[in-house]
């Protein structure tokens, strides 16, 4: 990350691209988030870290309508999108890549990407999206007719990320993109995140791999038991003795 980029703005602007305000959310009767706030500005990579069960996935699910928000507000691009279902968010430019490398197992790689472009009606734009994703992941281009269910974990994660990119999103929500992958695929995931960031895509990334995430994050939030614990720039949290003790093994 050498010079050339515009000066980084350390604090959130008045109107970030995505803002999660004091959100309480859960599943049925189960309350998981007890007032969580976070913000992502255009073009920023924001990390979300915390122990298992802290509610990291639930934040992404609250944003995408998979978890029920009982209080608080979620705003995107000036609109209130609290409780809006994922399929309505896609046309607004929000892509969600859930935890667990989920793919349509009985469909080919190409069909998976095609489903990612479901809301893209313009044939030219679809074509362009396919070449962009195949350029980013040449391995998928070689295997476009393979059934996604028969691929390795790392390859499936590429399919899942590629599928999210097909709509040319402005904001991508990624849940544990490197979890359970072989080291070379972990490296590939982080390289990909960096190159997407360089292209101006805003991302909210949930990760177990705290050190690598904080190293590339503009901002990060540390969550515990459904509440905000710490926040700051990636570098701040990386230097924070508490984060170091809890997550970086110091």
């Amino acid at each position: 990350m050498t010079g050339g980029a515009e000066a980084r703005i350390p604090e959130p602007l008045a109107t970030p691209l995505l803002s999660v305000d004091d959100v309480h959310a859960g599943y049925g009767r189960v309350r998981v988030l007890h007032g969580v706030s976070a913000a992502v500005e255009a073009g920023q990579l924001v990390g979300l870290i915390g122990p298992n069960g802290a509610g990291k996935s639930t934040i992404l699910k609250a944003i995408t309508g998979f978890a029920r928000v009982s209080a608080g507000r979620i705003r995107y691009d000036g609109q209130d999108v609290t409780g809006v279902r994922a399929d309505r968010l896609v046309p607004l430019g929000i892509a969600y890549v859930p935890q667990g490398r989920l793919v349509f197992a009985q469909m080919t790689v190409h069909e998976n990407l095609e489903m990612g472009a479901f809301t893209v009606r313009d044939a030219g734009a679809r074509q362009e999206a396919f070449s962009r994703v195949y350029d980013l992941f040449p391995r998928l281009a070689d295997r476009r007719t393979q059934l996604a269910g028969t691929m390795s974990g790392g390859e499936q994660q590429m399919v899942a990320i590629g599928r999210g990119l097909m709509v040319r999103p402005r904001l991508m929500l990624l849940d544990e993109p490197s979890l359970g992958l072989a080291p070379r695929f972990v490296a590939l995931v982080f390289e990909t995140l960096q190159s997407l960031k360089a292209q101006g895509l805003a991302m909210l990334v949930v990760e177990q791999n705290a050190a690598q995430t904080l190293a590339i994050a503009d901002r990060a939030y540390l969550l515990e038991l459904g509440r905000n614990r710490l926040e700051g720039t990636g570098a701040d949290l990386l230097a924070n003795p508490e984060t170091r003790r809890l997550y970086l093994g110091d």
Partner: protein, 290 residues
């Protein structure tokens, strides 16, 4: 020896002709299960409605049942889509027993209403009859016609599912509804469309049945069991599996009917089903659940 071969050929041909119709009927049942994990016990009643469309149109205007398909297909599509939207969609994520009870209840309501409106009288649509010989095998004209139309419609549904935007969206919804949502697919619409298409296929099967068998309010029950047997053989949620299962069922049924009585033929089907459930519960082409 020669006559034994001819008999075997006759059984196979009769069975395959029957199998085409079963495939058309079971395709819809398997589609609905695949897309919304609901076993629609009212599927046979949709066939019955399709048969009545043909009967009533014939009685009123003398309409040829093949032309009546142009009415029964869209009518049953709408019936299915509306039923899904307002009734079945409520139980999509409920336990299987809930949807079984609901669709069983629906089947009783539809049958009862049909009995009240159309009485229990047996009806039929006189249409082409007779047959022709192909070597030593005789082929019934109406059955051949029903078979051909069934294959065309089943094939059209398969092409729709594998080639079109909404067809693929329905398969995506079947494979992972949450990821389908994340792709921007309106899964409620995909499910409504799937139920509509399944109903249209069942309705078309009913219209074809109207010139082969008697039409009466409770006719759906026997066909429902056949469709159920087909998906047990072929695997729930698998369209090509349904086609293969239907052909096997048709041939076994024809063979058992030739060797014994119709009642014993039915029993043979159930024994085969039980064996299948014990040996390969996910069917020939189905994949084991999770």
């Amino acid at each position: 020896m020669g006559t034994d071969l001819a008999t075997a050929a006759q059984v196979v041909v009769s069975g395959l002709l029957l199998g085409g119709l079963y495939a058309l009927l079971a395709g819809g049942l398997t589609l609905v299960f695949g897309v919304m994990r609901v076993i629609n016990l009212a599927h046979g009643e949709l066939l019955m409605l399709g048969a009545y469309v043909a009967c009533l149109l014939f009685a009123a205007t003398g309409l040829n049942p093949i032309v009546a398909l142009l009415v029964s297909i869209p009518v049953l599509f709408v019936v299915g889509a509306v039923t899904q939207r307002f009734v079945v969609n409520r139980v999509v994520n409920a336990p299987l027993l809930t949807s079984l009870l609901l669709t069983y209840g629906l089947s009783l309501v539809v049958t009862g209403t049909a009995q009240a409106v159309w009485t229990n009288d047996y009806r039929s649509v006189p249409f082409i009859t007779g047959g022709f010989a192909l070597g030593e095998v005789s082929i019934s004209r109406p059955r051949l016609l029903a078979f051909a139309v069934s294959l065309v419609l089943t094939g059209a549904a398969h092409v729709f599912l594998t080639r079109t935007r909404w067809g693929k969206a329905m398969r995506a919804t079947a494979q992972n509804a949450d990821v389908a949502l994340a792709c921007g697919i309106d899964i409620d619409r995909a499910r409504m469309l799937a139920f509509g298409i399944a109903s249209a296929l069942a309705g078309a099967a009913g219209t074809l049945v109207s010139f082969l068998y008697s039409v009466y309010p409770e006719m759906g029950r026997a066909f429902m069991l056949k469709a159920f047997a087909v998906i047990v053989l072929g695997g729930l949620g698998s369209f090509p599996g349904a086609l293969i299962g239907a052909m096997i069922l048709g041939v076994v049924e024809a063979g058992a009917a030739y060797l014994s009585t119709t009642q014993i033929a039915e029993a043979v089907i159930y024994i085969m089903l039980l064996a299948m459930l014990l040996v390969r519960p996910h069917g020939l082409l189905g994949t084991a659940e999770r």
